[in-house]
């Protein structure tokens, strides 16, 4: 079984990078909304409650994607180098 060409690896890395940017973008957005509701005194409790659930879930999804990415691709590189 041949190895994937370099450019495939770059595209895959780019994909993971974009996904990471997306997840941190969502988390950053939620935090912005918390701060906005705090400044405007506009029921900040709602924002904090939602963030307590949504942020961990997104971090979990990022974790699973990383686990799969490095677990599957990483295994190939390790075997190839042996």
């Amino acid at each position: 079984m041949q190895r994937d060409p370099r450019w495939v690896l770059y595209v895959q890395n780019a994909g993971l990078f974009l996904f990471t940017v997306f997840v941190f973008g969502v988390i950053g957005w939620i935090i912005r909304l918390i701060r906005l509701s705090w400044t405007l005194d506009d029921s900040p409790s709602g924002s904090i409650a939602i963030s307590l659930i949504a942020i961990p879930v997104f971090l979990l999804l990022l974790g699973v994607v990383n686990y799969v990415f490095w677990g599957i691709r990483g295994a190939v590189e390790k075997e190839d180098s042996q």
């Binding site: 994937d4 909304l33 509701s37 506009d42 939602i50 879930v57 997104f58 799969v68 599957i72 691709r73």
Partner: protein, 448 residues
């Protein structure tokens, strides 16, 4: 799960749609594109003229678009919920179904979100929800929850796709670059298999509460207001049950069509439809129970504002819709699916079609009658959807079908490796499980 294992030859039918495309496909795609073009023109007229091109008015300011939004988000519960629950229950009969279900979820969620954009008076300001969002508003709960669900279900679709994409990478030359990228270098080694199985198991568990939260939060858009027959505590569970109900029906329809068009009768057998039909039957009974509880509570209390809406639905202007809904969601499916003789594939298709129609009517019946009967005296208001709204509805359905069709041309619509896994280890695992349930055989010395 070795991609070049000899048993792959048995399942070449699953790769067939990817390597061969019939003329029917192109004709169907062309027709769908025409419908989408029609919807596009309709939307342009709305962008230029304003929402006045719809049939909406004061006080019925929500109509088709919101109904479609709730309806499509509801159908999204088909996929991930069914696939995740069946995986966790280790039900062996799930194997030809999971991928089809997961694709429905991802495509239809996207369509639901798009229908909300259609409903906005100022879609050019949609980003205001991002900049100035307020978490006190149920719409923000919607945005967050649906984003989470879309992300999670896309991941949940992609993970089991990896081994199949690896097979395509090794066998199919067209779009090979795409398969190579998505396969992540999959070779079916033991280490990779362990990682994938664990990740899929985690996602199956995570996706279920996310899915439940999505349609609960959609229901909160209505139940958090003070309007008669909206402000009800049952809405969260009611909508989730309705979503699973309509989702299973949509899944059955998709399965029947795909089976016919791609000649996959060997994989989707009557027994699969039988089990899904039983699930549909159970959901129909459950839906009826929730509906009955909701209306009985309203009727028994007899609160005047609620009764105005209640009677409008049961005997008034909305009676034809209400009773069609009950017929389509309860009487017809229960009649067809309760008896072994009628619980065939055709029966399942018939029952599912009426359920899909009935559930759309149910969303409509929840939204419009309450708005038509404001608390304060108001001139009589009827809502007649305009051609623009019909066009957008048709366009949404056409987009869904087209995207689904494109998926079947790029990836196997039935999970190859799961079928192989079923053949190779499924039987053995099941036998081990059943053996574990039964009492262990006593040794001779303890028999006295």
């Amino acid at each position: 799960m070795r991609p070049d294992a000899p048993t792959l030859e048995l399942d070449l039918a699953l790769i067939n749609p990817i390597v061969k495309t019939s003329r029917t496909f192109f004709i169907a795609a062309a027709f769908l594109l025409l419908v989408i073009l029609w919807a596009n023109l309709a939307y342009r007229s709305q962008l230029v003229e304003g929402l006045g091109v719809t049939g909406l008015n004061q006080p019925v300011s929500w109509g088709f678009y919101i109904t479609n939004f709730v309806f499509f988000i509801g159908i999204s519960h088909a996929g991930t919920l069914i696939s995740a629950i069946l995986r966790i229950a280790q039900a062996e009969w799930r194997r030809p179904i999971t991928r089809m279900a997961e694709v429905i979820t991802v495509v239809v969620l996207f369509l639901g979100a798009v229908n909300i954009i259609f409903d906005l008076g100022r879609p050019d300001r949609a980003l205001n929800v991002i900049y100035w969002g307020r978490y006190q508003s149920p719409l923000l709960w919607d945005v967050t929850s649906i984003t989470t669900y879309l992300t999670a279900s896309t991941i949940y679709l992609y993970l089991p796709l990896i081994p199949d994409v690896a097979i395509l990478r090794d066998r199919v030359s067209r779009f090979n670059w795409l398969y190579r990228i998505l396969a992540l270098g999959w070779r079916g080694t033991e280490r990779q298999e362990k990682v994938l199985q664990r990740a899929i198991a985690i996602m199956a568990i995570v996706v279920i509460p996310v899915a439940v939260s999505v349609h609960s939060v959609v229901s909160f858009v209505f139940s958090m207001t003070l309007q008669p027959m909206w402000h009800s505590t049952i809405f969260g569970p009611y909508f989730v049950v309705g979503a699973i109900f309509s989702g299973i029906a949509a899944l059955i329809i998709a399965m029947v069509v795909v089976r016919k068009v791609y000649h996959l009768e060997a994989y989707m057998k009557p027994i699969h439809f039988n089990y899904l039909s039983l699930l549909l039957l159970i959901m129909s009974l459950l839906w009826f129970y929730f509906t009955f509880a909701e209306y009985l509570t309203g009727y028994y209390g007899g609160e005047p504002e609620e009764m105005k809406v209640f009677w409008a639905k049961l005997t008034g202007d909305f009676a034809p819709f209400f009773w069609s809904m009950v017929l389509c969601n309860f009487f017809i499916p229960v009649l067809i699916l309760s008896f072994r003789r009628t619980r065939t594939i055709l029966g399942a298709l018939l029952a599912s079609s009426t359920v899909v129609i009935g559930m759309w009517i149910e969303r409509f019946i929840i939204i419009v009658p309450t708005l038509s009967h404001p608390r304060l005296p108001h001139a009589a208001a009827i809502y007649l959807p305009s051609l623009v709204e019909w066009a957008m509805f048709a366009g949404s359905i056409a987009t869904f079908i087209l995207l689904y069709m494109v998926f079947t041309k790029l990836f196997p619509i039935i999970s190859l490796w799961e079928i192989q896994e079923g053949r190779e280890v499924g039987l053995r695992h099941m036998e081990e499980r059943v053996r574990a349930y039964l009492p262990s055989t006593p040794t001779p010395s303890s028999q006295v």
